[in-house]
Symmetry: C2
Subunit: 335 residues, 2 copies
Amino acid sequence: MIPTIKDVARKANVSTATVSRILNELPGYSEKTKEKVLKAIEELGYQPNAIARGLVSKRTKTLGVLFPNVSSIFASEILNGIEDTAHEQDHSVIVCNTDSNGVRTMKYLQVLNEKRVDGIIFTSEVLKKEYYDALVEMNIPIVLVSTASYRYPLPFVKVDDKHAAYSATEYLIKNGHKKIAMISGTKDDSIAGTPRVEGYIQALKDNNLSYENRRIVYGIDFGYKTGVMCMEELLKKAPDFTAVFAASDEIAIGALSVAYKEGIKVPDDLSIIGYDNLKVAEMSIPPLTTVAQPLYEMGKIATNMLFSMIKNGNTAESRIIQHRIVERQSVKNIQ
Amino acid sequence: MIPTIKDVARKANVSTATVSRILNELPGYSEKTKEKVLKAIEELGYQPNAIARGLVSKRTKTLGVLFPNVSSIFASEILNGIEDTAHEQDHSVIVCNTDSNGVRTMKYLQVLNEKRVDGIIFTSEVLKKEYYDALVEMNIPIVLVSTASYRYPLPFVKVDDKHAAYSATEYLIKNGHKKIAMISGTKDDSIAGTPRVEGYIQALKDNNLSYENRRIVYGIDFGYKTGVMCMEELLKKAPDFTAVFAASDEIAIGALSVAYKEGIKVPDDLSIIGYDNLKVAEMSIPPLTTVAQPLYEMGKIATNMLFSMIKNGNTAESRIIQHRIVERQSVKNIQ
DNA sequence: ATTATTTACGTAAACGTTTACGTAAAAGTG
DNA sequence: CACTTTTACGTAAACGTTTACGTAAATAAT
């Protein structure tokens, strides 16, 4: 059988309380007994039962993380940051793949509640009222990553999407482009959709360039296929552009393949700028110029915020993370 | 305060045993009391405490999964399969990013043991004796994914690397290539390293093609940068090849970028075949022909194996998963 | 109608920890 | 030395469940 603290206590001729104190580095025992106990632990191969521990301490040292899609490169970089930070603080992370599905999300929230996780990180998706209510009910710290909620007072970690889109568009303008198209992701996504379109339009206006409706096309998500479909549509609808701002790197790469297939040279005939700076951005041909979201960092920051909330019981300040343009070779200066 | 089963019992005027029976759908109560209890649960917003439950049932409904690098596309697809399957069976998964670090891996094994997970999936890395010993000590089901152990009797789920490499090489040969180079990953990796090299050499021999040492070059891992470095080395050392077999898609894409930079047209001047069939394979320019490992499926299969082991207490049969060639556009028939 | 069986519960122990409280011995203080 | 304080423990309750066992009532069997 698996040895328990009682076995250790018996073997070392002390009480379980003493063993517990030694295990938790609390005061109240001599060097001698400590050695006796450590020896007993060693000999029995004893390992504390975190479940029993969690029952009385009401701390599980476990975090829950929800992603719409764990297997996206986007998510996995955030996850990496979260996991590293959690590990630094001796916590584990349970991953939940919501599939952007309301029922499944609610199910996960219930499971995380039943498992009594110490905190939750919710990523990349709009926070429905239903979710928020469940979260409040749980009464544990929560932070949003790469999403935000204007309706509900939850701390978030994200870049300023409108601003970042503005920067991307402006970068194209500074490189002499005047006819700039945009491929957006989901049209009515209030987090990653509309703000980026707004940033794009704003940048055009501020630089006295006309904004033309036909130059912007919407997809169903932020994936590669959306990129190819939208690019094809764009080439049909309004082929007279010299640059395109893609709302994600995957979209940009989709656009890139279409350009390649159509014999359009990037960046000579067409400039493309992406959004995210995923690992694939530097792997594309040509390497993709993009506006970087520091995803790993964002995961780290969010997790640290969560820990501070767990420790202090207060709520953390939201953080707008700085984006930056990563210049590679998909944009050409044409002035 | 959070309501407990006692609160429910009190409110419904029954014992906790009855509430527990209802919760677990065990026999022993009338319809009437069931309704009473359900009503009380509803009104209190009661949710069972999985920790307390785990303490007595000795089942946590939680699985542990170890990856050398969670943020790799490779890992995240396996994770996706694991998570989906675990969720189907009402289990959660704790992810562990070992960073291929022995100390960190051991630490994770300890944590997973302390948290009393019901099973473990260990992926993509050679199983050191140290790990195996710790695993045995834990006395819970474990399955290996995308790795195997000849020394230790643990069930695994993987493709036959030598065979798959053989297929890839043979595919190039069938397309008329005679001077075929190979970019391997880690040289002394007994799982993903040497077997693939062996498969490559075997295919050459079986087709009466001479195997030349200078045509094979080794990297430090299976990543993009290894791909570019090795390709550059290859071009210097032995530029007279018409095709290259890359030991991973990332390596292949690295090679692709170098070819592009050097003005070598793929597939017209040079054919490239990859290995893995990651999502990026279809996103590359040109889309990458590759030998597919069904990673998501492998995650699913492994998890189902784990569940069967958990349920039946036996050990599962290892599974060799069929690979297949996915033909895209990076290989040209030159005969 | 009497006995046997089944149903519908309740009681209390157990799971493996932590921790409040108590106490005897050791150490410190005047 | 007599006292207070501190140290080094031990005892036992508590955390929130499940479940073995017991029992009274209901139902079935004869």
